[in-house]
Symmetry: D2
Subunit: 462 residues, 4 copies
């Protein structure tokens, strides 16, 4: 495909004889014009993304959302390609430092867009929490390790090309236009996942006017800005994102499945560390991670199906907790949950005691949300104002920050979204007519719940 120094020079700018397209439900078609992009898609590291779901456990709530990181990655590439086309058509640089678009940056932007999630593994969030991996570090590793096919393709462009792509993803690349295309409050990544997750879940909260946003987007010396005439389209995007977080990404049932997954891996690790994981339960491809001694190669062999396969094995384990948690995960038996406030947080120890009294090991059968970061960022310019706020471009050349002129955006700016929840077995909500040994415990437990919140029943009963 690419051999020797002579070809390298050509390879960088090699266009396909004829554009190739991938049919895509969100963008109709993904247009592939460079040999490099086609070669990257054909690497095993990229193909592996087909076997990792974009939204992890979310399909347990929204059954349609079974799409993979592969589909999202080509979508981010396509939006970036469209941004580059627009910039090149309307804002081509004329001289250095004029703040306009230099189309020599195109291939860097396209590769970074395509590969920005290449380091993700199965159930990334929970996996990282248990095994101490980090998908951003792994992205860099996959880009820069000579053992990967991705690295081989990138190196064929230029020896320093893999590191360049890595620096875009790490946001240290000098050209902030390229960085912000891939990673900012309103970037190709977020725009694709909102539209895509909306489509696959079957909700319509995430829809916004992509074509209009692309139209008003323009480069400037410090990155990317938007013409003020598109303010409402940008505002609509921010509100859509907020709605998707509230209604999809933060959904309690999906989070509850993440809790079970976390507890399941925690139990397996515990058993492994105490040599109590039987031979028939041994997770061959996971062993390097249990042993905390894994290579990039080991990581590349993981996907959702690999983990699920071990869960199936574990569902037959003689360890009751391991097999029960595995079955709850595989057969979608979510924990229940209730919200709590700073004030009702004090009730948690008492509630855990009830769960213990009802026969559950509360280390494995309860959890609070604290241990789970939010899976995606939310617009919060106060925290990192310098880097990511959205600037609108006015006719006289001045900029104005979005939340200054949008009441809607101001309303959700800097707010901590999401909620804190206490998770517990559904059995605790059993009704009294279901005769059971633990009925009195259930009844006591239930007195502390009201309208979906923990409720300090003790105070009221004084």
């Amino acid at each position: 495909m690419f051999k020797g120094g002579l070809v390298i020079t050509i390879y960088k700018s090699k266009k396909l004889n004829r554009e190739k397209v991938l049919r895509d439900p969100i963008h109709s078609y993904i247009y592939i014009q460079h040999q490099v992009i086609l070669d990257l898609i054909n690497t095993r590291e990229f193909q592996r993304l087909r076997r990792i779901r974009q939204l992890g456990t979310a399909s347990s709530t929204f059954h349609g959302a079974e799409h993979s990181r592969f589909t999202h990655s080509v979508g981010v590439y396509e939006i970036t390609r469209q941004i580059c086309d627009n910039f090149q058509r309307n804002y081509p640089t004329k001289e250095d430092g004029d703040g306009l678009w230099n189309d020599n940056e195109r291939l860097i932007a396209l590769c970074a867009a395509l590969l920005h999630d290449i380091g993700h593994g199965p159930y990334s969030h929970t996996f990282e929490h248990i095994f101490g991996t980090n998908h951003e570090d792994l992205t860099v590793a996959i880009l820069t390790s000579p053992s990967t096919e991705v690295n081989k393709v990138l190196r064929a462009v230029a020896p320093e090309f893999p590191e360049k792509i890595a620096s875009v993803i790490q946001k240290t690349y000098p050209n902030q236009q390229v960085v912000q295309m891939i990673s900012s409050q309103i970037d190709a990544d977020r725009m694709d996942y909102l539209l895509r997750d909306s489509y696959y879940t079957g909700t319509n909260y995430g829809t916004f006017d992509l074509k209009r946003i692309l139209r008003v987007m323009r480069p400037y010396e410090k990155g990317i800005t938007f013409h003020i005439s598109g303010m409402h389209a940008v505002e609509d995007y921010i509100v859509s994102r907020f709605q998707m977080y509230q209604q999809v990404y933060f959904h309690p049932v999906s989070r509850s499945m993440e809790v079970i997954l976390n507890r399941l891996l925690q139990r397996a690790k515990f058993l492994f560390e105490h040599n109590r994981l039987s031979q028939s339960s041994s997770p061959l491809l996971l062993l390097p991670f249990f042993e905390n001694n894994f290579s990039v190669e080991d990581y590349i062999h993981l996907d959702d199906g690999v983990l699920n396969t071990y869960f199936i094995q574990w569902s037959r384990s003689s360890d009751k907790i391991l097999s029960d948690l595995a079955r709850r995960f595989l057969n979608r038996k979510p924990l229940k949950s209730a919200r709590f406030s700073q004030e009702t947080k004090q009730l948690l120890p008492k509630l855990r005691d009830f769960v213990t009294a009802a026969g559950y090991n509360s280390d494995y059968y309860t959890a609070t949300n604290d241990s789970f970061d939010l899976p995606y960022d939310v617009y919060a310019p106060n925290q990192n104002r310098k880097k990511t706020q959205i600037e609108l471009f006015q006719d006289d050349g001045t900029l104005v920050e979005l939340s200054v002129i949008s009441k809607l955006v101001a309303a959700i700016t800097g707010e901590v979204s999401g909620d804190e929840r206490f998770f517990f077995p559904k059995e605790m909500l059993a009704s009294p007519d279901q005769i059971d040994l633990f009925t009195p415990i259930y009844e006591q437990f239930q007195k502390y719940l009201k309208n979906g919140w923990l409720f300090n029943n003790d105070n009221n009963n004084n």
Copy 2:
């Protein structure tokens, strides 16, 4: 949930206090009204369908088509529910034998609709071919084996209920209205998969006017008919189905991936049978199938991820053929193909010889389409006219068969769709400038291809 004789009587007709809904991209919502349906969805056998893709290898061509049999199954249930509602509202039976709808059949229809694919396993078509399983038999086994959760739920309705559901799926149930809802030329199954596969692939060939078809559908003594005013909507459905077969289901790349999968499992079975499958390549959950001694329980433990996990293990095998085929499958390296006619079929031995000469074992690296049945049926009333033709209802009560009045349907009636293809390694198409030991062989091979067909070059060169 259901215990003892007394509850059984109630269970059958138990409605949920409040309708539950599942969000669905195709039908907006799936409405669940019976406790029985909710309990069936929550069984492990049904939840397992989340881990089996509806379209097998099709996502290698249409990357969006990663949806599972779970989503399709609840969709078939929902369409059936809407048909029952319509029948009950507009065509309720008044006396036995009047050919109208008896709503006591509703629960049977709903359960059969929901469970019609419960016996499907991973990559069903190829799996069945290699291991001699049969998904229809396995559906019946899962419905009727006392060991399954599905059977337990069904038995709680009535002791003979599992067999009733099985008979609907086997088309032997006396009420043909129920049978045809689930299985006929224009049934809930086909209607859901066309709309769903269209949506997820991002093509629009499969769209048709579901609402209009449901409106004109009506029961009669021998099954289901359609009012003639909806003729064009039915016609459009038939044409849409034809288009989906031509453009999606028969796509050569997806079929090529099926070929690789077939060869891969064939090689693993061969190695197993010759004791050449190493310990580290041992497919724990597949062993009962290699040994041809499996239980329903064993079958239920399989899913796409389990097979893929063994493919990952095999990709590291020391057997070159096994590891190469596993990598081709995992990393999406399809074989190439060309169509052949009855006339050019005679070229196949010669072409296989070229493939062998180029260093490939042609038993594993070539195939023809012959060994693969078509994955779905096509409208072909000539073959089984009695059971499945579409009858239109006229105002004076007479029926007329669809293809009699639709030129479009007549055009594709009884036609054998699809094509016969010869599959071979992509490497055979290498161009002469890619210097290679086998270049002369490639060149000879390529002389027998033209415009996507095998071509009898020898004749022309006389």
Copy 3:
């Protein structure tokens, strides 16, 4: 169709032998089940709504938005029908005063929904301003005047039925559930127009999850409430409505066309009152309105086409102002506009003087937004808190007002949306290179404009 006392009793509840449907792009189908509804649709007063555009001049900005009040009216009917179905299925009254739904109210609700806009005329807003008509009074007149076909149909249901329908539209009907279905912050009227106007303009700002809102809607003793689990769907509806106002209903170009229309009718009225409207410009069907002596019959003869026909006649008038304004309206030559604040309002007399100096009669060629009310209401519970705020229903039966728990809604609650604008001829923006007698005046005028606002240039030039 309906004759004599005997039939009257039957007529009220007469269902069609077979449901009739109208194909509709928003709701797929409009289902018609009552003979009364079919008869109302077939009246000349209702058919006339086909010739009156729903959005008046908005199609001059969004060319797709050419839909009529007919399409919207049947849409409001359909949503109301779905609400009734849901209420009857899930919340049927058991005893008087239980706050649940009494399905005897259905026909009243359906008729009121269908007829709520029956009194609208061509370009209602401007027409009313010039001729002192009022579409709500005219709605009541059409419902209750014995001369109309609508009244004849309604009377056939019951003698007092026309007044009942009128009282629903006037919000004085005792059952507030019926009133709020048709007229409240989140009623069938608003829900249909948001979805419909979105669809026809081709924007997607107005889309929201109708099915989910219908699911969480429920009756209570004081009207209609929403289950709190649907809070985000309701919130999304409010935000969508806000966006549609900002981006579609308040669009400056459409408003500018309204300004021209207003000035055109004002000029014609002036000429008529001074006997300067020539015979060939005489607007036969409008004369009763110029003479301020019109009947319901006269009003029913008006539609958009009638007014436009007179505008075509007037475009050939010898009165320069009349013919010029008519041509600007017919040929879409909008005025330009700039926003002004309380502070820059003082500039208006000076700017009007410039317009006069450039040769335009500023009484006809300038305007401010003041003279135009907002075409639709905006969520503003502070103003009329009693009647229209949105209450959410919690599991323990208590209600909570939407803006209390939604930051987004709180952000736009009670805000006066829209902007104040000064309209003037586009010619005032001529650039200096277009040599013109008035160039110096244009240049002076333009100094008072900046970034789309009036700008107090005098201060800055001190």
Copy 4:
């Protein structure tokens, strides 16, 4: 805007400083890049298309289909623009006669696309039939008459430019690529109207894969061809068109409204010619047409609203036939119809006699379909094989005609679609329980109808 010789040279290629866009529901945006195109849209002749509905009486059947010829015309322009972009990007000419695309033809193609329907008037088909006008001749007249604004803009490009555009529309322009873009079996005109009419009617029969068709379209020396890989997309387009004709364009209710319109204008003309049209019924703007002495200027003053205004006047006429037909048209009271065959055609005189006997003047109250041509062409290569058949391009450069390889297209090729119908007053179908003087006549009449067809009852009763 454009003055003097110097500017003319520049005007032709003048691009807007910044692309302008029109929001469009079908194509998202219409992109306007040339000053010429913007100026053409702003002419009064083009703006007038906003007041003429694309589908005439079809909105009486599909109420959503109220869109104007303006929206369709900008849509045809936009598709043509996309075709030019694709051709210029992928198939730019290198030397004269290579059969590839010369982008100097772009402005001609765009103008012809935009203006192809500029000669259409209100209810074109019927209007032409009564008044002997011809919309193609009028298109040429509007393009080439010095009195029109359109001509003024075109002349500013080049003196011979108006005639060039006219020759494209008349298909005599030498470059057949340009001609076929605008007018062939699969041109920008048909592609836009299928998608647009589908969208506005709310049916989905007309949808097809525009993006894919644009992708496979390519220029060759004799016009336009399609790569064979897109065969199924082209096939789907042909089938969609067939379906739209069957279900929308040929709908009996819309045709019945055309019949009434025809009879209404026929009656008015008769009264005018016999001096029996009263002063208050005088149709000022129509007089030149009644007098058969009209100018282009007169024609430009007509639109749907103008005709409807006179219909409203006529609905108050003392001539019973004129006022009744006017009211039937305005208030949507369609005639009923039945199909007839060559055999049952002989029944027509007898049936007309029944209608006369029931008190209707059968010259005005009956009609057959014969007098109405089909409103759009249908794929019929046999009739005009030379010009319009669809050729598919194979990899080796040879062409193959579509119907040769598509069974579906072959099935509808050369078929005369549509049906012959006899129209009569709905009152003829009155049921016997509606006591009426003419009941016996109705009963006799109805004996000749069966399943929607005329039926030779006399034979059967022998």
